[in-house]
């Protein structure tokens, strides 16, 4: 099960990376960034999975005493929680840059932006 999740996440990373490198429009590049981010999160949560494990929340169904063999790793969940919110913040910042770029230039095609090319 973990291997399936790792392969799926890795393929998402590949698709996102491919889109980032080959698309010629700023919006598609930002969408590819978002896909790349989602792929990395899937990989991280997949690493923390324990076979037949359940969520690490103690209630009537899960006692504190014998929980070590039954519970999924909580640390990758906590890190991915933070990472998803940061991904949204960075995407919003990239989109506002794209809005300003379009306002000052009139087009979103990357081939028109030649100032930094040698």
């Amino acid at each position: 099960m973990t291997h399936i999740v790792l392969v799926i996440g890795f393929l998402l990373v590949c698709i996102g990376f491919w889109g980032l490198m080959t698309r010629r429009e700023v919006f598609r590049m930002i969408i590819s960034f978002s896909l790349l981010d989602t792929g990395v999160h899937v990989i991280m949560v997949g690493i923390g999975y324990v076979r037949a494990g359940t969520a690490p929340i103690f209630d009537e169904a899960l006692a504190v005493a014998g929980a070590v063999g039954k519970v999924v790793d909580p640390v990758p969940s906590a890190l991915v929680l933070t990472a998803i919110v940061i991904g949204l913040a960075v995407t919003a910042l990239m989109l506002s840059f794209a809005i300003r770029l379009h306002a000052s230039r009139g087009s979103l095609a990357v081939d028109d932006m030649k100032e930094l090319k040698w």
Partner: protein, 102 residues
């Protein structure tokens, strides 16, 4: 059983991701990326991480799509500074008016 569901969700995610890159219409690409996040939230639930599933469904699928659509609407209707082919400005764009009607 859950392995079969995981493979199915994985295929859905990959199809959605490829569609997000290769669809011509930008609004459809944005919605495809939102659907990838939604299926990823289901995958997180299968992996025993309900907190992450809630966060991904609320942020990745809802807020990211809305932020993308808002900025796309702003780009579509901004008068372009110097170009003469400004046909998008007078076109009533049916895609953004869906924001304001059900």
């Amino acid at each position: 059983m859950s392995q079969l569901m995981l493979v199915l969700f994985g295929l859905l995610m990959l199809v959605g991701a490829v569609a997000a890159l290769y669809l011509k219409d930008t609004v459809s690409a944005i919605l495809a990326a939102g659907s990838v996040s939604l299926v990823a939230s289901l995958v997180y639930l299968l992996l025993g991480a309900p907190d992450v599933a809630m966060t991904e469904a609320a942020i990745g699928s809802a807020l990211t799509t809305v932020v993308f659509l808002f900025s796309w609407a702003r780009i579509q209707h901004r008068p372009q500074p110097s170009k003469s082919s400004q046909s998008e400005e007078t076109d009533s764009n049916p895609d953004d008016q869906e924001d304001h009607q059900l």
